[in-house]
């Protein structure tokens, strides 16, 4: 009823605030500890690189999702858009459609353009036609997955020994995987855009209070469209990378449930699901936590299904801690 912030005793309030800020980091450290104890090889340098590499799709898609959620929306079409991008690039690269040049560059460009169109569709439906983001992106989720299967004719498209595969495996001097570098770039650019640019402030303002944002002269329609386009473009990059790494594009499974991991990372990272202040670093850490859960379970030979249950529990717990108790 009353919505002023409720203050509890110093100690509890302090603990809460602390958990809110550092909860994700603790969870991350605990997971690492569990793994190091149960598995001696875990602390090897390679495991570290592996974690960063494997978490790549989750990390970048959760950065895209961060734009969407802090702008007051949600995008559940991410995984399907990943599949479209992967499949489209694969067919073009493999020269399946004779009317397209058989070129990697063209494949990548087409993948990104088509993904961008999906994002624009999401954005326009949400901001111009004022439809619920969940409904719009759910529709895209279905359409895009269908399109991916149509493009690939329902088959898994594999390729090997192309320069495209190199992105997934290439390492820079010092054994640094190039993926990690790209990943870092994404994180830095996202942080810069959200914290330092007019656009970033405007996204968060819209998420906080759309009506006030409009009165402040923010072109809410345009900003909203851009948010969804960003999310889809990032999804395309993620889709391309996953297919490069696996040397294949599986239209049915590529990116499946990726949107859930992305949403979960943003939620655990402490950004309000109703929009507003975007938390970048904790989102990245949370994405790694989600990846770590999967790794933990794989390394200990536990059935993958448990990973899902565990993820679920962690998400609920994290969101509960983050929640503004007064709402």
């Amino acid at each position: 009823m009353a919505d002023a912030k409720r203050e509890s005793g110093i100690s509890r309030a302090a603990v809460n605030a602390h958990l809110k800020k550092f909860g994700a980091l603790y969870a991350f450290l605990i997971l690492i500890a569990i793994n190091s104890i149960s598995n001696r090889n875990f602390l090897a340098v390679n495991t570290f690189w592996n974690l960063l590499i494997q978490a790549f799709p989750i990390i970048i898609t959760s950065l895209g999702m961060l734009f969407v959620i802090s702008g007051g929306g949600i995008d559940v079409s991410v995984g399907s858009v990943m599949a479209v991008a992967g499949a489209l690039n694969a067919v073009i690269m493999n020269g399946i459609y004779p009317f397209f040049p058989k070129s990697i560059l063209f494949g990548v460009i087409m993948a990104i353009v088509v993904a961008g169109l999906f994002g624009a569709f999401n954005g326009v439906m949400v901001s111009v036609f004022k439809m619920q983001p969940i409904v719009v992106t759910l529709t895209t989720y279905i359409i895009a997955r269908g399109l991916a299967q149509l493009i690939a004719n329902g088959k898994i498209l594999s390729f090997s020994n192309t320069p495209f595969n190199a992105i997934g495996i290439y390492r820079l001097p010092g054994n640094i995987p190039i993926q990690v570098l790209i990943e870092l770039l994404f994180i830095i650019v996202t942080a810069f855009v959200l914290k330092k640019t007019v656009f970033g402030y405007q996204v968060q303002a819209i998420g906080e209070n759309a009506q006030a944002a409009k009165l402040c002269g923010i072109r809410t329609t345009r900003v909203r469209i851009m948010i969804y386009v960003i999310s889809s473009l990032i999804a395309a990059v993620a889709g391309l990378l996953v297919s490069s790494r696996t040397s294949a594009a599986d239209p049915t499974n590529l990116g499946a449930l990726a949107e859930m991991d992305a949403i979960a990372s943003v939620a655990i990272g402490g950004t309000s699901m109703s929009g507003g202040k975007a938390r970048i670093l904790t989102t990245v850490i949370s994405a790694m936590i989600i990846q770590l859960i999967t790794i933990t379970i794989n390394m200990n030979n536990i059935h993958y299904a448990y990973a899902r249950v565990m993820k679920g529990i962690i998400i609920i717990l994290a969101v509960y801690i983050q929640q503004d108790k007064s709402r």
Partner: protein, 509 residues
Amino acid sequence: MDNNLLLEMREIDKRFSGVHALDSVDFSVRKGEILALMGENGAGKSTLIKVLTGLYRKDGGQIIFDGTERNFHTPQDSQRAGISTIYQEINLIPHLSVAENIFIGQEPRNAFGIDWDSVNKQARQLLLDNGIDIDVTQDLASYSTAVQQMVAITRAISQNAKLLIMDEPTSSLADDEVQVMFSKMRELVAKGMSIIFISHKLDEVFTICDRTTILKDGKLVGSYDIDKITKLEMVSKMIGRDASNVLKRTVGVYEEKPGTIPLVHTKNIDNRVTLHGVSIDIRPGEIVGIAGLLGAGKSEYAKVLFGCDNTYTGTFEVEGKPVRLKSPKGAIDLGFAYCSEDRKVEGIFPHMTITENMTITALPRISKFGVVDSKKQKAIVDKYIESIRIKTPSSEQLISNLSGGNQQKVLLGRWLSMNPRLIILDEPTRGIDVGAKAEIEALIREFSQNGISVLYISSELEELIRNCYRIVVIRDGQNSVELTDQDITEENIMKYIAKNAKETEVDHG
């Protein structure tokens, strides 16, 4: 112990990070009195109330209510004990109907659960008693802030409490509504209820209150009987220095330069809902006031000027050229600024800092290639924290941690920093203390001297009379009269502001 006391709070202490909001404050309320709790913005008034009702936990001190020591843990606790509270930020639920808002938690029931017929009927009756005639089945959000305040008051009054707390209940009400509320308050007190009344409007305090307790910077200054203290003394105690300068104000004069075309020329603005022909001209450097009752169309007209309402017919020209604004962005590009009356819904970004809140509109101007120049950003914020005296430990404080009046100042800073050609101020001094009010009014007059036009909307006639060169009174969405110079008097405005009795009957016939 004095058994004439309903409430006694002793040595109350409350700290927030960086702020000692209440420093060992003693406070008491007698049975059957109306007590004014006074102090500058950020003095700790709302905090004291929230500590009492259990919304905040106190860090120290003792609360004795109705003879026993109490520690309310939630607002519901205190409500059950007989304390009914209207918080400063209206705490109703916008997407429930007006009737639901009045009865939430205490709905009359019948065999099938909540008896909606009876809820709606009773709610309507209660509001009618308070002079408000509206459709109670509509969402609360569809009504103006003033109506919402009346709903909150109606709800609080209907609870039959021992103590009624009103934290700035009148900030957007016009005189008529305030009078209705006062007569209600007198009835309640006659029945033995006590009332704590918080307001920055001194006239109200001197009209309705028996006694006053003054806070400054979280400390008690003292308690005084109203008939033993003057306005000047009261304000001096609030600000901690002699207030003669603060209360003395001069009215400026508008010198029309020959040949100036009006900055804004509107004729017969009509949106078929709230406006049915409003015509107002605003010349460069002029301060034009709009007076009118609740629902007369004041804010709605402002929204047309600022591009929020694109459904109107009529003439709208800027410097002689016809315009049709499709969005606030367009208005801002023309050099217009609009400080809305509804701070919470149309103003603040609650989880953002003062800096972010104040500069969000100016960002495109203080950026290069879309990257914000944080030095310029900081310069703006520092300037206005200083010049309109925003009370805060730092510019990085979340705006929702500021007192109500200080939040309002941040929003004013947001628009002042735009160097507008026309600034539309809709209840700009809502919730702002006397000292700051004087400063803001001075600032507005300085604007006008520098050629900036001001459209000044206020429910406080005195404020309009003091500041405006010209006042347009609107009634039922139409021009009622336009007053200038010597014609600007309270009597004149009052004469044209209200519908006369006959018209009212015709309206309902």
